[in-house]
Amino acid sequence: MSTLLFLIGEAFVNLRRNALVATGAILAVFVSLALAFGALVFNELVRVNTLQWQEGDHLIIFLKDEGGPVAHSELLSQINDYPEVKNAWYLDKAGAYQEFLEIYSDQPALAATVTAADLPASIRVELEDISTYQEVQFRLVGHPLLRRLSVFSEGIERLLSLTGVLNSIGIGLVVLMGASAVVLIANTIRMAIYARREEIAIMKLVGAGNWFIRVPFIIEGATVGLLGGGLAAAAVFASHNLLERIPTDILIRFQADQGFLLSRAILILAFGGLAGFIGSSLGLRRFLRV
């Protein structure tokens, strides 16, 4: 126990003696891990936003007024029978007006110029598989009640493919930044060791084992990694809180789940510590040969 306390003490004495180098390493790890953490959060935001769209209406079939609710109801039951359709429901003119008022609640002047009679009734369709939207579209082309078909799936598909690219870039960034954090810590520890190589040689001469020499450096590296990871987590939390305040009626909502943020922050912290451990272990190898 007293040996462990001695080694921890040695680690913090080393950190104090190499304050400038250690600060540089902490900042470098902070930048790397903040970018990695930022990429994780960005991926989550893209996923959450596309999920919101996916859960919404895939197709909106705007209907002509001819035939009235009876004809509309017949078409609704036909659509519900399509194998591609998971669910379809009818939104009459009053419902459409209500939705319009909700969407344009911040623009009362516009709302005042529109009445329920101006808006078409519609059938909202949720598909089993969004990639089948073209089949449904094909079935409805030329239908006498069809006023216009709005296909949200096209946008979703584009977004999903974009999400795939963004995810790959994000994962690439996470891996790259993680690796750079390890290299940075390894380099810092190497510099610290190089500056103290004579001391290490003396320690070995008086019978210090490799672990006795290694442990303070590993604690030093892990502390640098944890501090850098902690700063990165704090910075991403702060940035997320700022982004959350952006009005939510624009295309993307900058709101990730707090549980997600917390779990990833812990992951980043753990990664920082691990990067420090691996980095310092790598940095020490050359100097511990007997």
């Binding site: 001391e199 008086v206 019978g207 007997v290």
Partner: protein
């Protein structure tokens, strides 16, 4: 206590430092290794510490064949052999007491025992008033005393000294030699490489003379030069 059998050391590039050296140092003996620069004295000491590996031959230290010692056991060997160097090799960021304590801490010795042992040995070397000084605040002689204290603090059966008086003036050297003599009288085997003929002549102990890596003289109660020549 130390036994060498047909030991040779050839460095990379074919430089022969030691060749066919055989000698036996008994428990409690005080042996001087003498000879000109490059004769192989320091290499011999470094091989006994496993800082260098012998190219050929066998070396036993404290009963163990260290030529077969696995790397992970080397620190344990070094804890049974105290070492003193010309350049003191003290940790500059540690105080006198911390430097001495370090040799015990690496063995996992409890703090209370470390404190007691350090105080005792610093008293022995006459530095109990300077425990909180850093090496840079001490004279050469005092630094070498700290180095001796560190080498002796865990009561090793063997003490190896490589030119311990090489950086010291004659008067200070005498003090250091008296200290080594006192340690030797406690039963510790001492093997010391030196150029200092005055010390060797004054102490009249066993002298092993090396020349170009070979033992050319091994004589008890001798001076720096062969008794036959004087």
């Amino acid at each position: 206590m130390i036994r060498l059998h047909n030991v040779a050391k050839v460095y990379d590039g074919g430089v022969v430092a030691v060749q066919e050296v055989s000698m036996d140092v008994r428990k409690g003996e005080f042996v001087f290794l003498v000879g000109p620069s490059g004769s192989g004295k320091s290499t011999l000491i470094r091989m006994c510490l496993r800082e260098e590996k012998a190219t050929r031959g066998k070396i036993w230290v404290a009963g163990k064949d260290i030529t077969k010692l696995p790397t992970w056991r080397v620190p344990y060997l070094r804890r049974t052999v105290g070492t003193i160097f010309q350049d003191f090799k003290l940790l500059p960021t540690k105080t006198v007491a911390e430097n001495v304590a370090f040799a015990l801490k690496v063995t996992g010795c409890p703090r209370s025992i470390v404190r007691r042992q350090v105080n005792t040995v610093l008293e022995l070397v006459g530095l109990s008033a300077k425990t909180d000084r850093y090496p840079r605040q001490l004279s050469g002689g005092e630094q070498q005393r700290v180095s001796i204290a560190r080498a002796f603090v865990n009561r090793p059966p063997i003490l190896l000294a490589d030119e311990p008086t090489g950086n010291l003036d004659p008067a200070t050297s005498v003090g250091i030699m008296r200290l080594l003599d006192r340690i030797n009288r406690t039963g510790t085997t001492v093997m010391m490489a030196t150029h200092d003929f005055a010390i060797v002549d004054a102490m009249r102990r066993r002298v092993v003379q090396l020349d170009r890596g070979r033992v050319v003289r091994d004589q008890s109660g001798s001076g720096y030069e062969s008794s036959d020549e004087t």
